[in-house]
């Protein structure tokens, strides 16, 4: 079953997060623990690790703001 990649909550006041950069392209293999994208709030930039292994399918656009919980891709 494909694992959804959702925008995480990155701090008490964070409701929106900018997807800064994908580290992998469509269909590339990722392993659990790999840094798959960077996300930015008004306070911080955070590297997000894959929580599953498999082929990644990014759908979120770089430089776009998303709400916490929005789906920006899948793995597997």
């Amino acid at each position: 079953m494909a694992e959804e990649i959702r925008i995480p909550k990155l701090g008490m006041s964070a409701t929106e997060v900018t997807l800064s950069e994908w580290m992998f392209g469509e269909g590339e293999q990722v392993a659990k623990g790999d840094i798959i994208y960077t996300a930015e709030t008004d306070k911080t930039t955070v590297e997000i690790e894959a929580q599953a292994s498999g082929a990644i399918h990014p759908t979120g656009e770089e430089g776009t703001k998303y709400k916490v919980g929005d789906v920006i891709g899948t793995i597997g």
């Binding site: 909550k9 990155l10 955070v46």
Partner: protein, 326 residues
């Protein structure tokens, strides 16, 4: 640092290992759920401090009292809080310890002695005195342990509580988990004295500074402190030197931690050190892995239970706030 000659009893060592891994696996699972975006709550990671919490809780009796901070997952799960209720509370569900109305920063479960979790730095310290004074008056023999960080040791309430506890010989253990950072500020940038433990002398109190990454140091120190308090000899300030291996909270950047500090932390990681001690004491790899697998299965079940559980009813909002009078 305290020196110890006495070897920890083998059953007790296994108990400490089990509690440590429970704390660690809960922390790993929580970060996984947050990283996946499946759960969107505040969580203060305890990676690096698992052993301190586990050793402290293993030194207490089941009915002893604990007061902890928002970085309290370690004390809560190691003390034995029912894990389904714990996850329920963290996810804001009706099945939680506080019916989902407290959340991660206010976990309370008097049945297992988790009396209160505070969200304000240092505020639990005077509260612990109150619980300990009640025990002293009631003669129930309980010890109260309050956990806090190095940053909390510089607030006024810390000093007032230390003085009062010693004056009345309250059965309380003040556990300062010195993880070298007060939120985002390094220890040396907020305190000029070399450690917190030596402050005890200023109140006429017993003080211990101990390596919190070594089970053979931290457990005997906690055992000694709890026994001292229970015998009516008065409070003890224990400073456990440890490391917070993640940022202040999940999602906070920790690029302000210098490279050499990160390397030092990695070398002192309490988990591989504890595993080594376990193997030296003739526990097998299989036994230790089985414990972790059982914990993981229990956590997975509890997480699913919490995800499936209902939110509290809206009419709950006015309940448990004011005392109901006829």
């Amino acid at each position: 640092m305290a020196e110890t000659a006495k070897e920890i009893d083998r059953d007790k060592l296994l108990d400490i290992y089990t509690r440590t891994m429970k704390v660690n696996r809960t922390d790993e699972k929580f970060r996984e759920l947050l990283m996946q975006g499946k759960v969107a709550v505040m969580y203060y990671c305890v990676r690096g401090q698992e052993l301190v919490s586990a050793a402290a809780m293993a030194a207490l009796e089941d009915d002893d009292y604990v007061v902890c901070t928002y970085r309290g997952q370690g004390e809560q799960t190691a003390k034995g809080i029912p894990i389904k209720k714990w996850w329920g509370e963290c996810l804001g569900k009706a099945t939680g310890t506080c019916k989902g109305k407290g959340g991660t920063m206010h976990i309370t479960d008097p049945d297992t002695g988790i009396m209160v979790t505070t969200g304000v730095v240092g505020s639990g310290i005077p509260i612990a005195n109150g619980l300990a004074m009640a025990s002293q008056n009631n003669g129930d023999g309980r010890v109260t342990l309050v956990s806090f960080g190095d940053g909390a040791a510089n607030i006024g309430g810390f000093h007032e509580a230390m003085n009062m506890a010693q004056l009345y010989k309250l059965p309380v253990v003040f556990l300062c988990q010195n993880n070298r950072y007060g939120e985002h500020t390094a220890f040396a940038d907020h305190t000029d004295s070399p450690n917190i433990g030596e402050r005890a002398a200023g109140y006429g109190m017993k003080g211990i500074t101990v390596d919190g990454n070594d089970v053979n140091q931290i457990y005997p120190a906690m055992e000694e402190a709890v026994a001292h308090a229970r015998r009516g000899k008065g409070p003890v300030l224990v400073e456990a030197m440890c490391y917070r291996m993640m940022g202040h909270f999940f999602g906070s950047d920790f690029s302000y931690m210098p490279e050499e500090h990160l390397a030092e932390m990695k070398a002192e990681d309490p988990l591989p050190k504890l595993r080594k001690v376990m193997l030296e004491r003739q526990f097998t790899e299989e036994e230790l892995d089985k414990i972790v697998a059982d914990i993981d299965a229990e956590i997975d079940e509890a997480v699913q239970h919490a995800l499936d559980a209902p939110l509290p009813d809206t009419d709950e909002i006015y309940k448990d706030v004011l005392e109901e009078t006829a």
